[in-house]
Symmetry: C2
Subunit: 256 residues, 2 copies
């Protein structure tokens, strides 16, 4: 008999998020699930790790029949604690999400959800981050759950390198409106940042980061293009940031 797959799940919206519970529901069909997720929202934490404060890890009873822990740290801390302090062994798969909100394009760099998946890939464990383009706390995750199951089954067959993770984004559409999945590249789109400056009760200024997302990428094979056209986008994502094509151009610096 085939051994049951061991699946570690985290997210960045916290252990209470509906998206996490939806992903656990899917994964329970496919293996033994252990949850280690942040005890509070950690959106925008990117690949941050906690090194200046001690980390706390507490058993959680928020999930029926699933071993679960809440952690005081970031999503990447959760992956590390999950592997080294909870499981004391390597899971077959790491899942992150389902995020409340899109993590397409360059948002992958700011995303705690995707940084957890990237950390999994750095550990040499197949990893997938899932995000739904809907920030609502009560968003409808049913279409994402449908595609998540397909994608997890595919990855569990072993066809993905364990040093690459997947960034899966799902448009805010009913299941029957979604046209299918597209394997994509990360769109070159950026935030046109802006800050809202306000005054506190002492007359001191404070700032909120805001802005608008601007897609100037003309390519049709990007994740943003797929999402706009009602496809689920799947981007194979790596942690080697070397801009290899720029190495020859820089060689003259060696003689500067």
């Amino acid at each position: 008999m085939e051994q049951q797959k061991l699946i570690l799940i985290t997210n960045d919206d916290s252990v209470h998020a509906k998206g996490l519970h939806s992903l656990v529901t899917v994964a329970k069909k496919l293996g033994r699930v252990v949850v280690v997720a942040p005890d509070k929202p950690q959106s925008g934490m990117g690949h941050a790790i906690t090194i200046h404060h001690p980390l706390r890890l507490k058993k959680s009873n928020l999930f029926d029949d699933v071993e679960a822990y809440s952690c005081s740290g970031t999503p990447v801390d959760c992956v590390k604690l999950g592997i080294y302090e909870v499981l004391h062994s390597r899971p077959d798969l790491i899942l992150s999400g389902i995020n409340h909100g899109e993590n397409s394009s360059t948002n992958v760099l700011y995303s705690g959800t995707m940084s957890a998946a990237i950390e999994g890939a750095m550990e040499g464990i197949c990893s997938i981050g899932f995000s739904l383009a809907d920030f609502d706390a009560n968003a409808d995750f049913s279409a994402t759950m449908f595609y998540a199951e397909k994608i997890i089954r595919f990855v569990l067959t072993g066809q993905l390198s364990n040093h690459v993770c997947l960034n899966v984004n799902v448009p805010k559409r009913e299941l029957e409106q979604i046209k299918g999945m597209k394997i994509c590249s990360q769109a070159h789109a950026y935030w046109a940042d802006r800050f809202e400056k306000r005054m506190d009760q002492f007359g001191e200024p404070y700032y909120w980061l805001t802005g608008e997302f601007s897609d100037q990428d003309q390519r049709t094979e990007t994740d943003l293009f797929a999402l706009k056209n009602d496809y689920v986008s799947v981007v194979p994502t790596q942690f080697d940031l070397t801009a290899y094509t720029h190495i020859p151009l820089l060689k003259s610096l060696e003689n500067a």
Copy 2:
């Protein structure tokens, strides 16, 4: 007459760090410098941005003849606030560091220093992150300053794409022991993580992240190889994380 270059400088060790002050000393020779740096250490913050708390920005008089601000947020927040709230214009160059400690190999993902430089590249501004392989608060930055000046002069000639940044690491060596610069790729090396579990005064456990860095990469063109052989490593670094070579392998998922 050529217009003076505008140079925005940040770091992750805080506005008080010797490495930041050393970098300002170099940059002042090459243009008009404005500093926006964290008000407290932000090591390991990766590409985190502050979205759940308001940001504070305060004028600092820690630098002679240099406009400077301390910020309550992360290094990436400093870059965004620097461009959009302090300068209200695009600098010619963004510098980050000099970090107290190495940011070679996969540490680029955890590094606040390098995430600030990557954010600069996302903004389309030439950016360089500098790190010295010495955690000492009073480390000797003179060799790093020597190479930083060479590299900044090179980048200011406009030979680097403004969507790529440089990750510069300097070995802990006297200037005359350093053999030169090498253009490198990011080594595939990882932390073998471990947690120190301790008990607090209430009998509750807490954890400190620790571990050892393990370099299994056999290639000789990596940043770790260069550093071990007493070279300054320079890695052109990009923010497109797409694993392009894996796209064909995944195409069958579109029909799953």
